[in-house]
């Protein structure tokens, strides 16, 4: 993995994010320029094959290129101890079609101040950060309390309007945890 110096140490909304280069589980080298090529922007999601929250968004991310052809999409698998082999098996099993980058040592996650999956970032084609946080409030769409976060941000971005909510807090599964390193419970 090659890393460029962070563009700004606090990763402010409205300023460019640091690029990174990682290898997909298919073996290709990808950086943000690759993802943004001929796109208006992209969504980067920190993701894990084990995370029980991420699995709920399989259909969403598989359908993302069709729903938002102007945007690139890439998942970054940073969770410690999750290997490319496991990721390939999970992608095949769940028929995942979006590109998954393996992030050994969680370096990209650390560079992007990310502690849990799923956490999404919407960037424009100059890597300017437009939205950061959760996909929704983790409710199901049928729930009266359901609130989408990412989709409204994307629509406003594509319409060239100011994004009304540029940040929400993430929730989910920890990327690094001492509990993953204790003797197995089962």
């Amino acid at each position: 993995m090659s890393l460029q110096p962070p563009v700004n140490s606090r990763q402010d909304i409205g300023r460019p994010v640091a690029d990174f280069q990682l290898t997909t589980i298919a073996g290709d080298q990808v950086n943000l320029q690759t993802v943004l090529s001929r796109k208006k922007g992209a969504v980067v999601v920190f993701w894990s094959g084990i995370c029980s929250h991420c699995v709920r968004y399989d259909g969403y991310f598989n359908g993302f290129p069709r729903q938002y052809p102007e945007l690139g999409i890439v998942a970054v698998a940073s969770r410690e101890k999750e290997t490319p082999e496991q990721l390939r098996a999970i992608a095949a099993d769940r028929r995942l079609t979006f590109p998954i980058l393996h992030d050994p040592g969680s370096r990209a996650a650390n560079l992007w101040f990310t502690q849990q999956t799923p956490r999404v970032f919407l960037i424009d084609n100059n890597r300017v950060l437009c939205y950061r946080g959760a996909i929704d409030n983790f409710k199901y769409p049928q729930d009266p309390e359901y609130v989408a976060y990412l989709d409204p941000a994307i629509r406003q971005f594509l319409d060239g309007k100011p994004i009304s909510r540029t940040e929400t807090a993430s929730f989910g599964c920890a990327i690094q945890s001492v509990y993953y390193n204790l003797p197995k419970a089962l």
Binding site: S52, Y140, F171, C173, S177, V178, Y179, N181, L182, L186
Partner: protein, 775 residues
């Protein structure tokens, strides 16, 4: 009848403690004979497994419990079980080299260790029998067993292995609907509600598990937002199990979300709620989304403090499986999430947040510990004053590993520097009691443990620890709210030592204690103890339906300070009649009438248990449950229950960090804001000079409208500190006649004739005050 049971319980308790002491003495003697080192508290996670016999035995017992829970006991099971038990023994005892001469007495030590384990479990069962109604005892133990066997699996996110185990079993035995039901229940815990509903509905075809499967189907559908199907499943579950109050309650929750019961729900499946409708003097609206703090956090600690010294109150919220969130108050009615890069965002799995300026640099620091029902690390974050925090745990000498449930700051020796107390609960069903710990601040950024010198011993798993000067001698005393067992009161002797005065003070009752706070609920100048209690789900539902807990139950209680070193237990006689699964709570005068009111954060890890936060309005004589009438929700779950005047306008908001322990139990933080200013007020802030900068332990007496009110600045007692700012409701008083401040240094200052509806900052020794808000 109670007294008849109490006598044998007391005798049994003494007997068990005597046996425990004798066995431990034998263990110590063997340790000396074999040259084994004295055990020290763990500073770091035991990544290689248990390193001492007692921990190994407890670990093995915990593993056996999980094997019992997660193994299928038919067909080839004996072979499987044998393999699992062997593997568990290897994991638990793998660190012991029996060829090492220090382990020459291993078999005897093993026997003694199992002996102490049985004694310890006996004490816990005895305590539980004193506080859980006999009819509820089996369900209490079942819930306890499920929560504790689940905890390490879900913390380490090994749920995938668990799901695969169930799926493999079903591949072999597709007709095993008990396993299919467990698969569905586990999927709910993971947040996979739609898949769960499918499996549970399939399992419901089998009569032997139909009741449970339909109940859980209702849970899955509700959580997936499919309310009509949830109501149908709930109603069908009640057809199977008409007496199952948990199902009836879930159906009621579903109906509330639907705007009423659907027509197909028969009358006998419905319930009415009587609790929560007493007349409030102020109503609230949820402004969390509007102000930008509606974070998913899993119901962890929430503290209100001014991290950047701009005079505005900011918010920090801990989260499960995610970093802490720091919200900066913009001063315009909104908050900005400034977590990223603050350093607090790296603090994953935070639980309790204690705020205190330990280095007296004017910027409040944070001590954050983890879990409380499973061991974890704690971290001291030094506030750098520039919006960032640095983890200084190691250099401060505060590296600990244990099931810490409360951490509280207090200057127990009044030397002007904040000391730290960490209360440890139970890290596993069979775990030994992790000692509570007191750390003295050396004044150079480091701490030294003084637990033993201070004379603080630990008998029961502790959840709440809170400091308050009950005897007005100027030194903070310590109350321990123990999870199972008696509570304890330690009197501060003023010389760095403490005396357990629980018995002479009259604090002898068993209860399932959660957190507690010192407060002067009746404005008599004597600090009382408000102890929150946790009740079984059935008692909560009974309370909802009847407006009060069932006979024999244990509601919230106040230990009323009699002023002579003794306390009187008061609960039902002052309106504390309800039983809730209270995990934390706090006090504040939300209706500005001059009497401290209460907010309760309630719940349990179970996915089929949601319950409301509770507001108890104090009219000076009794507490009244005004929850629903005041506009709070019918449902919720969470630890961080606080009150703060977020906007400096005298309206005390109720802040509730919401969510549960399982990944699938997701809710967002809620902030309930009074719709109107319910009365005049004065906010008082203190800054110590000779005393600790946070002025923790300072006592304020305010006189207005012919009434005196008392506050003591607390260094945390629950899942997150109240702001250090002391909010006084003044009703219709037009001026404050007098304020007296007793600083921890001993200095007493008087101020007279102050305006109402203001926020004032007092600095120790200065004759005038400042206004933190621009007017």
């Amino acid at each position: 009848m109670n007294s008849l049971f109490e006598i044998p319980a007391g005798i049994m308790e003494r007997g068990l403690f005597t046996m425990d002491t004798a066995l431990k003495a034998a263990q110590s003697a063997l340790q000396v004979i074999t040259g084994q080192e004295r055990l020290q508290p763990l500073q770091a996670p035991p990544l290689a497994g248990p390193a001492d016999i007692d921990t190994a035995v407890a670990d093995f017992a915990n593993r056996l419990a999980r094997i019992v829970r997660f193994t299928h006991w038919d067909g080839a099971a004996p072979g499987v079980a044998f393999r699992e038990v062997t593997s568990a023994a290897r994991r638990s005892f793998g660190q012991f080299d029996l060829r090492d001469p220090h382990n020459s007495a291993f078999p005897v030590q093993l026997a003694l260790s199992f002996g102490t384990l049985f004694v310890q479990q006996g004490l816990r069962l005895l305590a539980a029998a004193q506080v859980v109604r006999p009819s509820e005892y089996p369900r209490f133990l079942t819930d306890f067993f499920e929560s504790f066997t689940d905890a390490p699996v879900f913390l380490s996110l090994e749920y995938r292995e668990l799901l695969e185990k169930y799926e493999a079993r079903l591949a072999e035995r597709p007709d095993d609907d008990a396993t299919r039901c467990e698969l569905g229940r586990t999927q709910i815990k993971c947040g996979l509600h739609e898949q769960a509903a499918k499996n549970l509905l399939q399992a419901a075809g089998n009569a032997s598990v139909r009741g449970l499967a339909l109940h859980e189907t209702a849970v899955a559908f509700y959580r997936a937002g499919k309310l009509e199907q949830a109501a149908q499943a709930g109603s069908q579950a009640l057809d199977v199990s008409p007496g199952n109050e948990r199902v009836r309650h879930w159906l009621w929750l579903t109906a509330q979300k639907m705007g009423g019961y659907p027509e197909f729900v028969p009358q006998e499946h419905r319930m009415e709620v009587k609790a929560g409708y007493e007349r409030p003097t102020v109503e609230f609206e949820d402004i969390a989304a509007k102000i930008g703090v509606d974070k998913t956090s899993a119901g962890r600690g929430l503290a209100v403090f001014d991290y950047n010294n701009d005079g505005l109150l900011d918010i920090v919220i801990a989260a499960a499986h995610a970093g802490c969130n720091l919200y900066r108050n913009n001063g315009d009615g909104t908050f900005t999430d400034v977590s990223v890069g603050s350093g607090l965002d790296t603090c994953v799995n935070g639980f309790i947040i204690a705020v205190g300026d330990y280095n007296n640099d004017g910027y409040p620091d944070l001590f954050i510990n983890r879990l409380g029902f499973f061991p974890g690390e704690a971290q001291l974050f030094r506030n750098n004053g520039n919006g960032t925090f640095t983890d200084v745990t190691r250099e401060a000498g505060l590296k600990v590993w244990g099931p810490a449930f409360s951490s509280t700051w207090a200057d127990y020796d009044c030397d002007g520097r904040l000391d730290l107390f960490i209360a440890n609960n139970l890290g596993g069903m069979f775990d030994r009691k992790t000692p509570n710990r007191l750390f003295h601040n050396n004044g150079d950024g480091t701490f030294t443990e003084t637990t033993e010198q201070a004379g603080l011993s630990t008998r029961w798993p502790t959840i709440g620890a809170t400091w308050g000067d009950y005897n007005n001698d100027g030194f903070p005393d310590l109350f321990l709210s123990n999870a199972l067992g008696h509570s304890q009161l330690y009197r501060n002797n003023g010389d760095g030592t403490f005396t357990d005065v629980s018995a002479e003070a009259g604090i002898t009752e068993y209860c399932i204690g959660s957190t507690s706070v010192w407060c002067d609920y009746n404005n008599d100048g004597l600090l009382d103890i408000l102890q929150f209690t946790w009740s079984n789900h059935e008692d909560v539902i009974y309370t909802l339906r009847h407006g009060e807990g069932p006979p024999g139950s244990k509601p919230q209680r106040i230990y009323h300070n009699n002023g002579d070193g003794t306390f009187t237990l008061r609960d039902r006689d002052i309106g504390l009649t309800g039983c809730w699964g209270t995990m934390s709570g706090n006090v504040g005068d939300f209706n500005n009438d001059g009497n401290l009111d209460i907010v309760l954060g309630n719940g349990s890890p179970r996915m089929d248990r949601l319950e409301p936060p509770i507001l108890l309005q104090n009219d000076g004589k009794r507490f009244h449950n005004v929850t629903f009438a005041a506009g709070l929700p019918f449902t919720g779950k969470g630890h961080g229950a606080n009150m703060a005047d977020l906007f400096g306008n005298g309206r005390l908001s109720v802040l509730l960090s919401s969510g549960g322990a399982y990944p699938g139990d997701v809710m967002t933080t809620r902030v309930f804001y009074p719709k109107r200013l319910p009365g005049n007020y004065l906010n008082v802030r203190l800054a110590g000079v000779k005393s600790n900068r946070s002025a923790i332990g300072a006592r304020i007496c305010l006189e207005a409208g012919g009434k005196k009110q008392y506050r003591e600045v607390s260094g945390g007692s629950s899942f997150g500190c109240l702001p250090f700012e002391q909010h006084f409701g003044l009703a219709d008083a037009q001026k404050v006649d007098a304020i007296q401040i007793r600083w921890p240094s001993g200095l007493i200052q008087h101020f007279t004739d102050l305006q109402v509806n203001d926020t004032l900052s007092f600095t120790e020794g200065e004759r005038t005050w400042q206004r933190p808000y621009k007017r």
